[in-house]
Symmetry: C2
Subunit: 217 residues, 2 copies
């Protein structure tokens, strides 16, 4: 008997469990939302475009995310997840020893110079005048910063527990955001990279002060 694959659909796996189907379209929608955020900006994120790009129908979207606000709110989490995954993939390759801090800084900078940060930027700015979005963004940001400081010790070593070090690291992150903002504003990426090189020197010197000994680890 033709038990399993009685009707082979032209496209994909003939039999999928409900959970698989659900998760597939769900993540397709969220990925499409983030992509639209990157490509068209926040006000360019329209359910029509998202649906079109995700390759699903309007009905599917409204089934999973009854309102656009919910779609975007979930996309915020999805984006933070994607950023975390993107970074986690690189953390393993970080050098140990004296070059560790430089490696972490460069990693952080790459993350800020990439498209996912631009997407986050869109959300931050839009959140200023959108209460519902602000709620979602704040919630995710809170958990993200918590994870950052949780992982900071893993990245930087025991100095991360130093209060002054944390302050300086926040300053460094602010500088990166400010430089990444120039990319949105349409500045030449080469020029921005140059400015980062200059800032990087300063940041390294600043953070080095907290290292009891450069050869401590």
């Amino acid at each position: 008997m033709a038990s399993t694959d009685e009707t082979v659909r032209s496209t994909k796996k003939p039999r999928r469990t409900q959970g698989e189907r659900r998760e597939a379209t769900r993540s397709a929608l969220l990925d499409a939302t983030v992509d639209c955020l990157i490509e068209y900006g926040y006000n360019g994120v329209t359910t029509t475009r998202v649906v079109e790009r995700a390759g699903v129908s309007r009905g599917a979207q409204v089934h999973h995310f009854p309102t656009k606000g919910e779609l975007v709110a979930q996309a915020v989490q999805h984006l933070s997840h994607r950023r975390r995954v993107e970074m986690a993939a690189e953390i393993a390759d970080l050098p140990h020893g004296a070059k560790r801090v430089e490696g972490v800084l460069d990693l952080l900078w790459r993350s800020h110079a990439g498209p996912l940060f631009q997407a986050a930027l869109e959300l931050w700015v839009a959140a200023r005048t959108d209460a519902e979005l602000a709620e979602a963004v704040r919630g995710v940001d809170r958990q993200v910063t918590a994870q950052i400081w949780e992982g900071a010790e893993l990245l930087f070593g025991p100095v991360a527990r130093n209060r002054a070090f944390a302050e300086d690291l926040e300053t460094a992150l602010a500088t990166m955001r400010g430089l990444a903002l120039l990319l949105s504003a349409g500045n030449d990426p080469k020029a921005v990279e140059k400015r980062w090189k200059a800032a990087r020197k300063r940041i390294l010197a600043m953070l080095a002060e907290h290292d009891p000994l450069s050869s401590a680890n």
Copy 2:
């Protein structure tokens, strides 16, 4: 700068020349655009709202700015002008001598923490995905940075000509932008101010290196 910064009043002056009328509604529209930018964000800037807030009619708006793009483009210039005026008003009060640099930094920070910067932020981020707006923003930014470096010597003294000093100042400005971004994201202003205090220390130390003598002037 006599007859600006006011919404048009039909009742006040019974006798106005054409040029006065024109300039009045024009600046009323531009001010209203900037205000909408601050209050509703970029995608909340609708001609309907602008017209309503400016106290003029649709016809007036379309007469002065045939397309929304032109209105926004002019508003970009208008905004940069307002920011410049806002700063110029404070420059005169800056102290001279050793405290000069601190005064300038605080002035710059206040400018970044204010609503006009938030408006500029909206435009920068929106410009990433809007070619026409990007054109306008780039043009204005170019002339603004030119003016900044032109006035830098007046603000900081002869050190401003130092190449390394300029780099560090750019880094400092990036840090301010990155911190101001937190305000958009909905962080507590008090907390942001605290972070600025921490960054300020670092920036001052950084800039002081370029001063041949603290008592040079």
